[in-house]
């Protein structure tokens, strides 16, 4: 029991740490977004508070905390207070299944860099992400404001429309890796590019890493596009189209409750970027490290004496810690790149019209994802049963 209790406490602390890490990444992303947009539009952006305007984050937080706790009179009070939490919860729960790095061992205890190692990982993420609609619908309805309701309606319609295309685009990836487990998917993407057709290996391309994008390029484009729609960001941010709907479903929210919607949105964005990294870009595995995580571990085994001496750890434990840090850095770099692309696209593309948005979802992306699925299946079928 004592050991189980210790494990429980350690894991709870780990969960809380990951949660607060995600929550505190949000202001950083907001800063990048504001400075980045200013850079792209040839402005200065927030640069007064602290070096490079970095303390603006703290100033914003203080402002959020010291706002008047405003509740509109016509609102359905219980649901009005629940909606921000309902928005935050799915975002955090999806991120829980993301493997951030390889596990490491300290003092005989192995810790996974992941809140929960769920064996149906990818389907779980889609399941929980589909619950994100509730927060938006509840916020829009409980505010008793026509702008909120219209924004919520648009947002939920858009999210469910793109969910179909997103779900279908993933099928090709599952066909390739034959697993739902995200860690196993990363494991399948290590090593050099390995494409075998009828017993012939594609040698000339073996300098490429064995990433999913080279096997499922159409799925990547579809998934990436649907990611924008799922997170309600430009060019698909019609639910918040300020020219028409004031601020969409969170029109009536202010202070910290509004901040929680923001956290939810950026949480979804982070999960989306992390999923793109894992499914199509090798996850935390270093590219061009032929043996994958095992090779990194071997490298650190012979180069970690300085750490094992300073912290009095065994050589293998020190190596596992350094491997974890390496992979975490690699994962953060890849994920950071895609987060930047999200921000970049936001300040580059104009907004869609609503009918264009729905046409894109149902009449372009759905047929394309079906075609991608059909093509992948047919290729696999003919690789096995060659009619020639």
């Amino acid at each position: 029991m004592g050991d189980g209790l210790l494990e429980f406490i350690v894991n709870t602390v780990k969960i809380a740490l990951i949660f607060f890490a995600v929550v505190s990444t949000v202001p950083l992303l907001v800063w990048v977004e504001r400075r980045g947009s200013a850079f792209m539009q040839n402005r200065l952006g927030p640069n007064r508070v602290g070096p490079l305007g970095l303390l603006q984050l703290a100033a914003d937080a203080v402002k959020f905390i010291f706002k008047e706790p405003f509740v509109p009179e016509a609102a359905d009070k219980a649901l009005y207070f629940m909606a921000p939490a309902l928005c935050l919860l799915p975002a955090m729960l999806t991120f829980a299944a993301i493997p951030l790095s390889t596990p490491f061992t300290v003092g005989g205890h192995t810790f996974k860099m992941q809140v929960t190692d769920i064996n149906v990982g990818i389907v779980y993420i889609f399941a929980v992400a589909s619950l994100g609609v509730y927060g938006i619908l509840v916020a829009g309805w409980s505010s008793s404001n026509k702008y909120s309701l219209l924004g919520a309606l648009r947002a939920s319609s858009q999210m469910i429309s793109y969910e179909v295309a997103m779900g279908l685009s993933i099928i090709g990836v599952i066909l390739k890796y034959k697993t739902f487990d995200l860690t196993k998917m990363i494991g399948a993407q290590t090593g050099p590019f390995n494409f075998t057709w009828q017993g012939h290996n594609f040698e000339p391309l073996s300098w490429l890493p064995n990433w999913g994008i080279f096997f499922q390029p159409v799925a990547f484009i579809l998934f990436f596009t649907a990611g924008f729609a799922e997170t309600n960001r430009l060019p698909f941010d019609l639910p918040e189209g300020e020219a028409e709907l004031v601020a969409g479903y969170h029109t009536e929210y202010g202070g910290f409750k509004f901040n929680m919607f923001f956290m939810g949105e950026y949480g979804h964005m982070m999960t989306s970027a992390a999923l793109i990294t894992i499914l199509f870009f090798g996850g935390y595995a270093l590219p061009w490290a032929g043996g994958g995580p095992v090779q990194v571990q071997e490298f650190w085994l012979s180069h970690s004496t300085w750490l094992s001496q300073t912290l009095s750890l065994s050589a293998s434990e020190a190596a596992s810690v350094l491997t974890m840090v390496t992979h975490l850095a690699c994962f953060s770099a890849k994920m950071g790149f895609f987060l930047f692309v999200y921000i970049w696209v936001r300040w580059t593309l104009p907004r869609f019209r609503y009918d264009q948005l729905m046409d894109l979802g149902w009449k372009t992306m759905l047929p394309w994802s079906l075609a991608n699925l059909g093509a992948t299946t047919a290729l696999m079928f003919f690789a096995r049963y060659n009619p020639l």
């Binding site: 949660f19 729960l93 829980a96 929960t116 179909v164 066909l175 149902w362 079906l370 696999m380 079928f381």
Partner: protein, 122 residues
Amino acid sequence: MIQQLAPILVLIAVVVIFSVVAIFLTSLTGPKKNPTIAKQMPYECGVPGINVRTTKFPVKFYLTAILFILFDIEVIFLYPWALVFSDLLKKSPFVFIEMMIFMVILTFGLFYVWKGQALDWD
């Protein structure tokens, strides 16, 4: 099972506690509530708001949600199929044919929806 489920439950608890504490504490730290009639009304851009919602919503929104349910079922059946496809394919091509029949029948449905202008938004 417990190793997978317990962290999710703990995380739910963490998020709920965080939300409750944050919303409760910020309602204490903020300035006193100062409700005025204009502030209490639903937000409107500069003109007095109307408190009733009589907006009619196009039936298109429901239709989108209904179609989503039906295609979502399709996706749910495709997930396990994709998982075992290459294994079952080694035994017989039947696994390919059965899904093709399934997909063709549902593509008829998509075709009907498309031609029936249920996907048109203008």
